[in-house]
């Protein structure tokens, strides 16, 4: 059945929509959009933020963290691809949790997603303001008011998202491709291929300044190399053939990021003393500055700007899908489950999340916002191994058809669980109190959901997949 071609599905769906006066999200995206959504959200991590891992444990610690986090995310991508190629609906991991573990888990996962993405969006907007301020300062203007630019970035992207998903993700595709190419160009241009290379690895890379504890601590920001790639699943209800496009886009995305992360690390540690790199606001831009080429500086400046915009854009897209899906199931007020009849977007969710993003972008410090985002992401990753183990147990391989089956089960799930434990410890080393505050928040919200909110939810109706009855029930 997966051989059905896209147009046939489209025609069928359109016919169903007109026949019953129903409006749903539009199936218009291809694998390239999925790639752009995943990589677009994450690539900003190479332009800023990953380098705090260098500060936490030195250059080699950051590389080890980069690869271990890469391993973690490869597990995430494989597990996600299998489940999502079967559970193809907006809401991504939220919908997976609802079908596989249960409503309360789903509610929590939905909130992780919304907060991870909304906080990341706020962090991106803060960075846009900072970048424009930097450019203004370089042209001799001191004391720029960053607020209008932060607001403009969020408003423009919200408007784009409001107007339709195809334009939104095509925009992401273009600017993400530019930002990724900028990293490649920087690497090639500074390499010895063209004669004199400014790289000084032998003299700049030192031993581990904190020993192995620093390597563990670096995992905190090592996640930042890839955080958000799991967002590809949010597009499930809008891609033309989810069973093929989602695994392809997600796995291509993680490969792109592994390359980008390693190149970024190599260029940066070869150009900057680690003490500087560990606290730099815009490491790739600094690397371009040190290369001494004006062209590279402009290119990486543009790359940084594009990466932040692509990330914020994808975040608005993903957070609103998750919020919308929860509204549609009455986990949140049903009012949010509305689809724009012309643009076919979850417009009320998009509008609602704008002021929230603004509150955090204008009112909270960047490292707090980033930590909130990382923690919510980490909670999602901890949920995933539980999810896949239960999925395989309740619906073994011969009971339902999967678009993609991940290999070596349950090894990736167990590896992912161990890596999550390491990441929890790393966050505990610097931000233990936030960790406990966040978990207290989720515990309170869970109790609220279980004892109050859940009464507004239809029971059987939330199980929408055409699957057989799970084993053991």
């Amino acid at each position: 059945m997966s051989q059905l071609n896209d147009t046939a599905i489209g025609a069928k769906v359109d016919a169903a929509v007109t026949a019953s006066e129903k409006v749903g999200l539009l199936r218009v995206l291809g694998p390239a959009h999925v790639w752009a959504l995943g990589v677009g959200i994450v690539l900003v991590g190479e332009y800023m933020g990953w380098n705090f891992a260098v500060g936490k444990g030195g250059a080699y610690a950051a590389l080890i963290a980069c690869w271990f986090a890469g391993l973690l995310y490869t597990c995430v991508a494989m597990i996600d691809s299998e489940v999502t190629s079967t559970v193809a609906a907006a809401g991504g991991q939220y919908t997976q949790a609802k079908h596989i573990i249960g409503p309360l888990m789903a509610f929590n996962v939905g909130l992780y997603l919304v907060f991870a993405y909304t906080m990341l969006e706020a962090a991106n907007a803060i960075t846009v303001g900072f970048l424009i301020d930097t450019v203004a300062a370089m042209t001799g203007h001191e004391g720029l008011d960053q607020r209008p630019f932060i607001i403009l970035a969020i408003m423009f992207l919200a408007w784009l998202n409001y107007r339709g998903v195809l334009a939104t993700l095509t925009f992401s595709l273009v600017i993400t491709a530019v930002a990724f190419s900028a990293i490649l160009v920087l690497f090639v241009a500074t390499s010895p291929v063209f004669g004199d290379s400014p790289w000084r690895h032998a003299d700049l890379v030192t031993d581990l300044p904190y020993g192995w504890l620093g390597v563990l601590a670096a995992m905190h920001f090592g996640l930042w190399f890839y955080l958000g790639i799991e967002g590809t699943t949010q597009a499930a209800e809008e891609v033309r053939s989810p069973a093929r496009a989602l695994p392809f886009g997600t796995l291509a995305g993680i490969m792109t990021l592994l390359i980008a992360a390693t190149l970024t690390w190599y260029v940066c540690v070869g150009l900057m003393p680690w003490e500087y790199l560990g606290q730099s606001g815009v490491p790739l831009f600094d690397a371009a500055r040190l290369s001494g080429s004006m062209g590279l500086m402009v290119l990486l400046g543009i790359g940084t700007m594009f990466a932040t915009l692509a990330s914020a854009n994808g975040c608005i897209n993903d957070a609103s899908r998750a919020w919308f899906a929860m509204g549609r199931d009455h986990y949140l007020p049903a009012w949010f489950g509305a689809v724009h009849p012309v643009y076919r977007t979850p417009y009320r969710s998009i509008i609602f999340l704008v002021p929230i993003a603004l509150i955090f972008a204008l009112g909270a410090p960047l490292d707090q916002v980033i930590t909130f985002s990382i923690l919510s992401g980490l909670l999602t990753y901890t949920f995933m191994p539980l999810n896949i183990i239960l999925f395989r147990r309740k619906w073994p391989l011969d009971t339902i058809k999967r678009g993609y089956v991940h290999p070596f089960h349950p090894l990736p799930a167990l590896a992912l669980l161990c890596l999550c434990a390491v990441a929890f410890f790393a966050i505990f080393l610097g931000y233990g109190s936030q960790l406990v505050a966040m978990l207290s928040f989720y515990i309170v919200v869970s109790l609220w959901f279980h004892f109050r909110r859940y009464r507004y939810v239809h029971r059987a109706a939330q199980f929408t997949m055409p699957w057989p009855k799970p084993r053991g029930y």
């Binding site: 069928k12 006066e21 199936r27 203007h141 408003m155 009849p341 929408t464």
Partner: protein, 55 residues
């Protein structure tokens, strides 16, 4: 007053215009269509049509 001051005002103005466009369209849609139509999207409808989980 230099170009950056103008840029600040321009950013405020464009943000405001975008906000107005979004809110006006939101009001227009909410008053034109009934809430039954707007919230008629259901999860998994397409899967039920295109995939049958039989092996």
């Amino acid at each position: 007053m230099d170009i950056w001051n103008f840029a600040e005002y321009a950013a405020w103005a464009v943000s405001g215009i975008l906000a107005i466009i979004i809110v006006l369209d939101w009001i227009r849609i909410d008053t034109t269509y009934s809430s039954e139509v707007l919230t008629s999207s259901r999860e998994g409808e397409i899967e039920a049509m295109t995939e049958e989980h039989r092996l």
